[in-house]
Amino acid sequence: MSREEILERVNGVFREVFDDETVAVTYESTAADVEGWDSLRHITLIEAIEDEFDMRFKMNEVTGMKDVGEMIDIISSRI
């Protein structure tokens, strides 16, 4: 699966978790760029992405990701 395809599916997860069809993240997006992306929402997001791609993050990855691109790199390495 290409990075672009992963990003598209990640965006679908974001829209569902944030209940907002207008959310559109890019590789450079961070929590500061998405309204409501707080620590609890981050945990919900991580679990929803794990479900979407049938993979698991490591605990240090959950707190260490600096942007969506890094998240996609991790997903890409696990699927």
Binding site: L40, I43, E47, E50, K58, M59, N60, E61, T63
Partner: protein
């Protein structure tokens, strides 16, 4: 009170206990919440709406999921994050409910678990189900 830590949890761990939803609890809940809907207070009204009698507050019954997680599974280290409840059948004053929870999912990444909850009345009828997500207060997620 149980004191399970995240590391102690395993899929399939189960706990169950029983509770009787009596008149006193119904009245206490009404006073506490101010929910004076006649479905819970007036037998005639409730029967007129097709029920056997006054209906126990759904949230009174499901509040025992708080006890399930906070006292037993996992107990002291619990922090309730989410509780998605589906009410499937009415509970009546005097019903005895068996509250049951089984660990259904463990997420190492977020140090959270999910518990599949179910309450069954004395006739074996499921009155509600729940998916409960809890985290643990015994250790903070590493920065």
């Amino acid at each position: 009170m149980k004191q399970y830590r995240f590391e102690d949890m395993a899929v399939g761990m189960t706990h169950r206990f029983t509770v009787q939803l009596d008149e006193e609890r119904q009245q206490q809940f009404m006073r506490l919440t101010g929910d004076t809907n006649p479905l819970h207070e007036d037998d005639c009204f409730a029967k007129g709406r097709g029920f056997e009698g006054r209906v126990v507050y759904g949230m009174l019954a499901s509040s025992y999921y708080s006890t399930l997680a906070g006292v037993f599974l996992p107990g002291e280290n619990c922090l309730l994050n989410e509780c998605k409840i589906v009410y499937t059948n009415p509970v009546y004053i005097g019903d005895e409910l068996t509250v049951e929870g089984t660990v259904s999912d463990i997420r190492e990444s977020t140090r959270r678990i999910r518990i599949a909850g179910k309450m069954t009345n004395q006739h074996g009828v499921v009155v509600n189900t729940a998916v409960i997500t809890v985290s643990f207060t015994d250790r903070k997620v590493e920065e």
